[in-house]
C-alpha cells in the first residue's frame, strides 16, 4: 500500500478506514509533539533542517529530501508490504500461517517486547538533546537531527502496534513511553544503556555505531516474528536505522582521520602531544570504544535465558536472518558456554540452543562490529602507524549475564578485583579523558566550517557539497 501523506498522521496502513484507531492516535499525537518540544533537540525547533522523509517502503527508492522544521516533520506509520504467502519461520509452530492478530496467550509477552523496543526510541532522543549546541559542523548537526526524527518515527511505529493490537493496555503503555525519561531517578528508561547521558560527539558516534547496531540486530530478530504487523514494521525500520550506523561509522572514521593528520604534522604519536594539538588520541578513542561496546553488549540480555527460549519456541522473536539456518526448530541442539568458575578460571556449561538465542544474536552483532574496526584500522595502517583498535572481549565490564561483575582484562582473562581497579583508567574513559573530550566540544554552526578535532566527510548528503547549508539557523 502506498504512503498517504494527506492524513493528519501519514501512514500506509489505511488508517482512515479505522476511525476509532485513527482518533486514538490523533489523541496521542499532540502528547508526542509536547514531548518532542520539551525533551527533543533543545533550542533548534525553529531551524530549517535538510531532512530525509520516507516516501515509500519500496527498496527501489524510498526517501525524499527537503528543508523541514523538526516539529513539522511528518512522523508516520509505515509497514513493509505484506507477503500473503509468509509462514512462521521458526519455533514450535514453524510452517504455519503467520498471525495478523495476536493470539491471547502471547499478548502480555509481545506487549513487553514492543514496549521494550519502543522505550529505546525516545530514550536516545532524550540522551542526545543537548548535542546540537556542540555540533562540529552543520553537516553533523543535520545528521544528529535526522537520527533524532527517525527515532521519533520508530516510536510512532511501536505506538501504532500498541494502539492497534493491545486495546486499552496498549494505549496506557503508549502514554508511559512519554512519561519515562532517560536518566530520570524516578521513572528511568527500561534499559540501562539508554540512561547513560551522551554529552559529547565522540560518545554520539560510538552510540550510533555500537548501540544503534544493537538496535539493528533486535529489529532483525523481531522482523522474523510470527506476529506479521510487528515483522513488517521492523523490516522498514531497519532501512532507516542503517543511516544511524552510517553516522557512527563515518563519524569515528573522521575522528581517526583528523588524528592521523595531526600525528603526521607533529611527526609524533604521543597522546599528550596530540591532545595539545586539539585532536583525539587513539588511546582515548579505544577507551570510548571499550565503554560503548561493552555497554551495548548488555542489551542482548543474559547468555542463558529462559525468556529467549520461550520467545523462540513461541515464534515471537527469532534469530537475525533466520532463513540462513537449516534447523528452525532448534529443539534438540545444545550450546556450550564458557562461564566463570568462581575461582578465577572458567568452566564449560552446556545449555539448550533455545536458551542461547541471546548469545547467538550477540555473536552476530560482534562480527558486524568487527567490520567497522577493520576499516578504521585500515586508515591507521595506511597512514603508517602500528596502533590498532580492537573490540574488547564480550566478557569485559559486563553488568548482565554470566560475566556480570566478574573482573577481566580487555581480552576476557579473569583477573582479581585489585588488578581490575588498578588498570581501569587505561581501559575506560577516566574523568580526565572525559574532561578533555568535553573541552573539544564547541559548536561550529557557521556555514562551511568544521571543528578542528574531526575531518570533514568525503561527501555531503544527497549529492550536495560538504559545505552545503544543511541547517538554516535563522
Amino acid at each position: 500500500m502506498s504512503m498517504n501523506y494527506q492524513d493528519r498522521i501519514p501512514n500506509n496502513v489505511d488508517l482512515g478506514s479505522n476511525r476509532t484507531l485513527q482518533r486514538a492516535l490523533e489523541h496521542w499525537q499532540p502528547e508526542f509533539l509536547n514531548w518532542w518540544q520539551e525533551l527533543g533537540p533543545r533550542d533548534f525547533q525553529v531551524a530549517d533542517v535538510y531532512l530525509r522523509t520516507a516516501t515509500s517502503v519500496d527498496a527501489k527508492g524510498w526517501a525524499t529530501y527537503g528543508f523541514v522544521r523538526m516539529p513539522e516533520y511528518r512522523w508516520g506509520i509505515f509497514l513493509a508490504d505484506r507477503n500473503p504467502d509468509r509462514k512462521i519461520g521458526f519455533g514450535d509452530s514453524y510452517g504455519q500461517e503467520v498471525w495478523q492478530q495476536i493470539p491471547g496467550e502471547y499478548r502480555a509477552t509481545l506487549r513487553r517486547l514492543i514496549v521494550t523496543q519502543g522505550d529505546t526510541e525516545p530514550a536516545s532522543v532524550e540522551q542526545q538533546r543537548m548535542l546540537g549546541h556542540t555540533a562540529p559542523s552543520l553537516y553533523d548537526l543535520r545528521n544528529l537531527f535526522q537520527v533524532n526524527v527517525e527515532e521519533g518515527r520508530h516510536l510512532w511505529a511501536m505506538v501504532y502496534l500498541l494502539h492497534a493490537y493491545f486495546g486499552r493496555d496498549g494505549r496506557e503503555e503508549a502514554e508511559e513511553l512519554l512519561e519515562r525519561h532517560s536518566g530520570d531517578a524516578d521513572k528511568p528508561r527500561i534499559l540501562g544503556t539508554f540512561n547513560e547521558p551522551i554529552r559529547d560527539w565522540l560518545s554520539f558516534f560510538m552510540f550510533t555505531y555500537f548501540t544503534d547496531r544493537d538496535g539493528k540486530f533486535q529489529l532483525k530478530s523481531l522482523a522474523e516474528s510470527s506476529f506479521d504487523p510487528l515483522a513488517r514494521t521492523c523490516s522498514f525500520m531497519l532501512t532507516e536505522e542503517a543511516h544511524h550506523m552510517f553516522v557512527g561509522d563515518t563519524g569515528i572514521s573522521r575522528v581517526i582521520k583528523r588524528t592521523l593528520e595531526v600525528m603526521k604534522e607533529l611527526s609524533s604519536d604521543d597522546p599528550e602531544a596530540i591532545r595539545k594539538a586539539g585532536a583525539v588520541d587513539l588511546q582515548t578513542l579505544q577507551k570510548y570504544l571499550n565503554f560503548w561496546f561493552s555497554s551495548s553488549l548488555d542489551l542482548f540480555g543474559s547468555e542463558s535465558s529462559s525468556n529467549a527460549a520461550s520467545y523462540f519456541a513461541n515464534g515471537l522473536k527469532g534469530r537475525p536472518d533466520e532463513g540462513r539456518y537449516e534447523d528452525h526448530i532448534a529443539a534438540d541442539q545444545m550450546f556450550t558456554l564458557e562461564v566463570p568458575d568462581g575461582n578465577g578460571a572458567t568452566k564449560s556449561e552446556q545449555i539448550p540452543m533455545r536458551n542461547a538465542m541471546n548469545e547467538v544474536t550477540r555473536g552476530s552483532y560482534v562480527k558486524d562490529c568487527e567490520l567497522g574496526v577493520t576499516r578504521w584500522n585500515r586508515l591507521i595502517e595506511k597512514a603508517g602507524y602500528s596502533f590498532r583498535l580492537a573490540l574488547p572481549s564480550t566478557r569485559f565490564r559486563r553488568n548482565i549475564g554470566t560475566w556480570a561483575g566478574v573482573p577481566t582484562d580487555t581480552t576476557g582473562k579473569p583477573i582479581t578485583q585489585e588488578e581490575f581497579s588498578a588498570h581501569i583508567a587505561g581501559w575506560l574513559p577516566s574523568d580526565g579523558d572525559r574532561a578533555y573530550i568535553m573541552s573539544l566540544m564547541h559548536g561550529v554552526h557557521e556555514h562551511g566550517k568544521m571543528a578542528a578535532w574531526i575531518a570533514p566527510p568525503d561527501r555531503g548528503i544527497n549529492n550536495n557539497p560538504v559545505d552545503y547549508e544543511y541547517v538554516k539557523l535563522h
Binding site: 561509522d249 540452543m353 555473536g363 562480527k367 558486524d368 577493520t374 576499516r375 585500515r378 555531503g460
Partner: protein, 134 residues
Amino acid sequence: MGESITIETDLFEHREVKAHFINPCCFGEDFAAWLRQELLHLDRSFQLSEPVQEDYGWGFHVSHGKTRLWVALSYVGSGPQEAPAQFVISVVRESGFESVKRVLGSPDPPELAELRDLIRQIVMANPAIKTINP
C-alpha cells in the same frame, strides 16, 4: 587484520549512489555479484546466497557442509569518489552455527581459510584489481 583483504579498483560502481542504497557508502553490489560468480566457477562445493545489502556495503552467505561463513564487502569511504575505490573483503564465521562458544577464540574451520585463499586468488588474478594487503 589477517581475516581481511583490502583491494583498490575502478572495476565496480563507486560513483553513483543508486536509489535502493540504504546508505551512500553502500557500493559493492556489482562487486559482490562478480565475486560470487567467480567463486562459483572456481569451486562448486561452496553454496553461495544472493548478495545482501548491509549498512556498510554488501555481502553474501556461504555454506559448506555444516560450516557457515559470511563474505562482507565494505566500501572504504562515506560516499562516491572519482578515484579508484577501496573495498575491504572480510570472511568471517557466522555466529550461532557452532555448538561451542569460546570467548577467547575457537579454531577457525578449515573452510574459512580455504575460502579466503580462493578470494585472494580471484582478486589477485585480475589485473584491474590491486591488492593492498594480500
